[in-house]
């Protein structure tokens, strides 16, 4: 499957070119357009594993409960978009594993397994979702971001704000901690929690933090009645 990125970094879409028999698994809501003979089925899981429980878990990770499977009967194209203005990255897995932060998953080839990974109690306090998605196997994964994406090769130690993590290689260890030694400084600076990566591997970061953007909007949005 060939995946082409276009109109980046703000209006980005992924154009996936499918050969006969190939399947693309995409998050519900990502579909924009398709050309060619494509069969579409919707499941709560990937074919050959999981089920409702996996679907429920996916909600906790900030993803859609449902996955759409696009199977090409002949050469066709499926176009995928992203909800926020931002970029897309295509990462090819070759037996290695990638951890994708909440809400970042868009689609993958059918030979990629996606599962949820419990990030430990600490991640609850980080406000970034309890589960992150772990992608493994062989094939391409499509991930979205808010703003543009920049990679960082970690060798030793590096710190990223939890809201700016897009994905990272599983070879890295990490711990979530407060941004400063002092609770007061961490709170007043607005930085809150950070992720401290250790070891050797690559982290992809997004230039903007969707949560900060959302919180800027809050005073201007009509309150929900309860």
């Amino acid at each position: 499957m060939e995946i082409e990125k276009k109109y980046g970094p703000a209006a980005t879409i992924a154009i996936c070119k499918l050969n006969a028999g190939e399947t693309l698994v995409a998050e519900g809501g990502a579909f924009m357009a398709m050309q060619g003979p494509v069969d579409v089925t919707t499941t709560t899981r990937q074919k050959g594993g999981g089920g409702i429980i996996k679907g429920l878990k996916r909600i906790f990770s900030g993803e859609s409960f449902f996955l759409n499977h696009f199977t090409a009967k002949n050469i066709s194209e499926v176009w995928l978009g992203t909800p926020l203005p931002g970029d897309i990255m295509v990462h090819e897995l070759q037996g290695d594993r990638l951890v994708i932060a909440g809400g970042g998953f868009v689609a993958c080839e059918s030979n990629v397994q996606i599962d949820l990974q419990w990030q430990g109690l600490k991640s609850i306090f980080s406000g970034e979702g309890i589960f992150w998605i772990k992608a493994s196997g062989q094939g391409k994964v499509i991930i979205n971001s808010f703003g543009f994406i920049y990679p960082i090769d970690v060798d030793g130690e590096y710190i990223v704000d939890t809201g700016h993590i897009v994905a990272f290689e599983e070879t890295l260890n990490f711990e979530i901690s407060k941004a400063s030694k002092s609770w007061i400084d961490a709170f007043l600076s607005g930085e809150g929690f950070i992720c401290r990566f250790k070891g050797k591997g690559r982290v992809w970061c997004q230039s903007h933090n969707p949560k900060s953007y959302g919180q800027e909007l809050t005073p201007h949005l009509k309150p929900k009645q309860k």
Partner: protein, 221 residues
Amino acid sequence: MEFKIEERPEYAWLTVKVPARHKLFVEASAMASMSSNMNLRALFRGGFRRFLSGENLFLSEFTADGIDGEVCIAPGPSGDMAHITLNNETFYLASSCYVAHSQGVNYETKFQSLSQGLLSGAGWFLVKMQGSGDVWFNGYGQIVELEVHDQLVIDNGHIVAFSDGVEYDIIKLGGYKSLFFSGEGFVCRFRGRGKVYVQTKKPASLIAWAQAFRRIKRSNN
């Protein structure tokens, strides 16, 4: 008419040179700046149906008085803009994507059939542009032009405009399970010959995302 669209695709911005005594029609409140000899008149365009849909009932009509003038136009949402020249042709726009048109083109609001209007993200109305002249329209994200063929399917929320001769019906993506569960709802399947213009972002997704950031107000009783 002579024009330029700058800062595509994020902050597309249109400047039109209007020859003396010519008219330019623009979406209400979209004018950003203009030369001092431009004369503005509010043109009643809507009927009862437009009133019901909550859209603006008026179009702005700009006339160049005496000498040539120019109007700079920026639509409400930031995004891309596109232009098409009509040559005794008909062209359809999602109502929210209309920006401006020149003299010689007739602007008509078209009520979609019940099923089409109800189901398509374009809303109840389409704008039917007919005649010879210029039409400008906007979209969220980048506007992409697609050639229609028999196996083209597009999500409702991404459709901006289409040319005459293009037919579409509303279908569900996949089976009935997809309809309720896929998160995609309805999509348009196109037939016939012509062009469809799509936007790479859809406003509905942004709105759905922003919902999570609304405050919760408790009622007192």
